[in-house]
């Protein structure tokens, strides 16, 4: 099966099986190992990527469904000059991860949240992020990082 899509801003085409999930294609064929797979039943959020700007669980999303669409993975956030996306930088600044296994999915879910609600309240953060599990941090520093990133993005957009 031949598929074409835009991936992190560039056109791609791949051949895959109808049963291949997006996570399998990203990880096994395209060597984009940033997208992590944990629960495989769409409850932990570790594999969150954006498809046409909306968050999906790549562990259960068939690669076929991504045909013709625009995909964004954690590898697509860093600028060409090496500058981190404000969300990535905020996760470092607020110690918002430990083992780091949930982090790519957490960052992509945050991206979707801030694209939709640029200045979320704590309740809005909790509501939007409830589908992403972190076992290390107790979530507290992640909430702080999301708030920090929202502030930085707002400041940047005013410039």
């Amino acid at each position: 099966m031949h598929l074409q899509f835009t991936l992190n801003g560039k056109p791609w085409s791949v051949d895959c099986e109808p049963a291949d999930t997006l996570a399998e294609v990203l990880r096994n064929q395209l060597n984009l190992n940033g997208t992590k797979v944990s629960c495989e039943v769409q409850v932990c959020g570790a594999c969150t990527v954006l498809v046409d700007n909306l968050p999906v669980s790549a562990c259960t999303y068939l690669a076929y469904e991504a045909r013709g669409k625009s995909l964004l993975t954690v590898e697509g956030l860093e600028k060409a000059d090496g500058t981190l996306h404000p969300i990535q930088q905020a996760f470092i600044d607020d110690f918002a991860f430990q083992c780091g296994f949930c982090t790519p999915g957490m960052i992509m879910a945050t991206k979707a949240l801030l694209d939709e609600i640029p200045n979320p309240t704590r309740d809005e953060i909790v509501h939007h992020m409830d589908g992403n599990i972190c076992r290390c941090t107790g979530y507290l520093p992640i909430v702080a990082a999301i708030q920090r990133a929202a502030g930085v993005i707002a400041k940047e957009s005013k410039k």
Binding site: I92, F97, F101, P104, R135, C136
Partner: protein
Amino acid sequence: MSAEKKTDFQIVNHSIPRRDGRVKVTGKAQYVADLRLIGMAYAKVLRSPFAHAKIISIDKTKAEAHPGVYCVVTGYDLDGLNPYFGHAVKDHPLLAIDKVRYTGEPVAAVVAVDERTAFEALEFIEVKYEELKGVFTPEQAMAKDAPLLHERKFEAGALRGFEGEVTAGKGTNICQTHKIEWGDVEKAFKEAASVVEGNYYFPMTYAYAMEPYVAIADVTDQGVTIYSSAQHPFMVRHDLKSIFNLPVSKVRLIVPFVGGGYGSKSYTKVEPLVAACSWKAKRAVKLQLTVEEAMLTTRSDDAYTWMRTAADANGKIIARQAKIFMNTGAYAENSPLVVEKSTNRCVGPYAIPNVLIENCSLYTNTVPASSYRGFGCAQVTLPGESQIDELAAKIGKDPYEFRLLNAAKPGEEFFPGMRPFDGTLKQDLDTAAQAIGWGTPLANGHGRTVAISGSDAGAYPLTSTAVRVHADGSATIMTGSTELGQGSHTVLPQIAAEELGIAYDKVNVVSSDTAITPYDRSTGASRTTTLMGSAVMEACREAIQQMVVMAADVLKVKVEEIQTVRGGVRCGEVQLDWSQVISKFYALPDGEVIGRSYIRKSGKFAALPVFWEAAATGVEISVDEDTGKITMEKLATVGDVGLAINPALAEGQDIGAATMGMGIGLFEELVYEGSQLMNGSILDYRLPRFSDLPKEVSLHLVQNQDGVGPYGAKGGGEASLNSMAANIANAVDRAVGVRIRQAPLTPERVWRALKEKNRKDRGSKIEDGG
């Protein structure tokens, strides 16, 4: 020494951003799941549908004929290997041999060209079983007519981690027993002014490291090489060495980043199986478990505890007695040590003159239990800290004051034969109490409590390291400690940079490759900062000593004339930094100096535990009396860490641990119905989520530099978990007047307890004629 209270730190005691930050936020951090070797095959595992059954036959011909399958490995294919492993008790076959002992036990593995092919071929393996009667609880396992899980006699593991004998394999289902006793418990209870007594249950729980168990093995005539998500690569090496009968030098464990451990990845798990697959298939093989399979691999020991605690008329605790039965599942894993630890941890952190604790773990036909963050401590802190509150209520004392009165004092030898207490519980309790507004008015239906934990932590002190100082003045730490997320790759370079007087960014870490990095017993029991941190500190100092000698040689002066300064040496007017010393010594701007250190149970580490891990937590909860649902209003953590090498990381450990403890207090529990694990998936096993975050959280550290680690540091990160279930149970009692002696306190359990209480209240009113 801890007496050396240095305070003018340049790098240590600062919240420097994580060393692994950039790779982890860009998706470039490599975990074993991300690794691929050239020519690698993939394994999938066939698991037992029965909890206890004889294997009559296995027919693998159809599966082996399936296109893309290299081979199928069963318990009958292991001639030439010593197929039983276990660091405490060698009771665990790498694949079931002759019989299965729990539902989900590996029976066969298919090795194929890819994972999907391996998975497809599983259904072509035909296994004939003869089902046996199973036992699923300690009570069933102890029954007179109970079937025996293990018929074999066991070799006690040389690396079991405790000095006592192993009880397993003596013709019963007992896996391990342990007992501690001092004073005269019977007499004390007779003379007591007040006694509380009760039965408690702490559930089976699942650590859910988000990266499930995964390993890649490559077995050749050169030896065994394994990439694994293991916390303790050197312990795993020992098991593999025995299985393959190889010298230590021919077994290599490599551990890249680990996606969460929390104890669940300590000791050997899937490595023997994947190594056997590689040995049989004659190529590198990867075995990646699913989360559902990981849940069939390890859990925590659940514990049934009867406990009683007594106080005298002055409110001093005079006695505690407990009988604990733990359910260790089908194989011992680390449970013998969990038994010893949970026995010890019934006492602390209180000074109690009369103690008798008896503990017994039993084999059952359930998933093998092993280490889980703070192992053994949370199980007994539920009864222990519940009874402190129950007793305080009974004698009409404020539970916080009651704790203050009885908690072990700094320097007190409250546990005979062990290291005197090295924490400051009064300060811990005060900080927690203040943080949650102790003594201020509370809303109706709200409850507020504090609880403490003090556990004998640090495991066994056997740790070595090398610090290589390079000719450009940078340094590389060679450490056997694994970066699990706890931050060792950040903390260890902080210590090295502080000691060598060089920039933090100039220190790199190479970790957890048993062929390269010096021996470290384990990454667990909160030991890395204290033990590996001390080793790094000593190795830096040893490198400096060598460089002083080299500087004397270079400057053609006596060693005594060389004076060390930050980042280098001085001799009169001449000052050289490390780069100049090394470059001049070799007469080339290259080369290195290797500082080494070996830590053993000696000197300041002679007394065990290595340190007492102490922490307090405070909570305020509210209870919805219509539904029984508990809401976490406030949470405060107080880590008594001696000195935080990196305060943000230390606080991060505490909130992470407290959240896991909160999960167990509120909803986490593996549920068995007969032989079946009913909620063995993340769909059914409830974990803390964003929406469970307490409304107000405050994190605190107590830093009195009273530990044996670098600059007075001690370990942290487990103790905040231990007290949480008790804290929640105590707060519920104070909020709505029901005492629940079982975790988790699910809405249903709270609601039923409230209903029962209301029924009794009504009943007593009627009796009163009211």
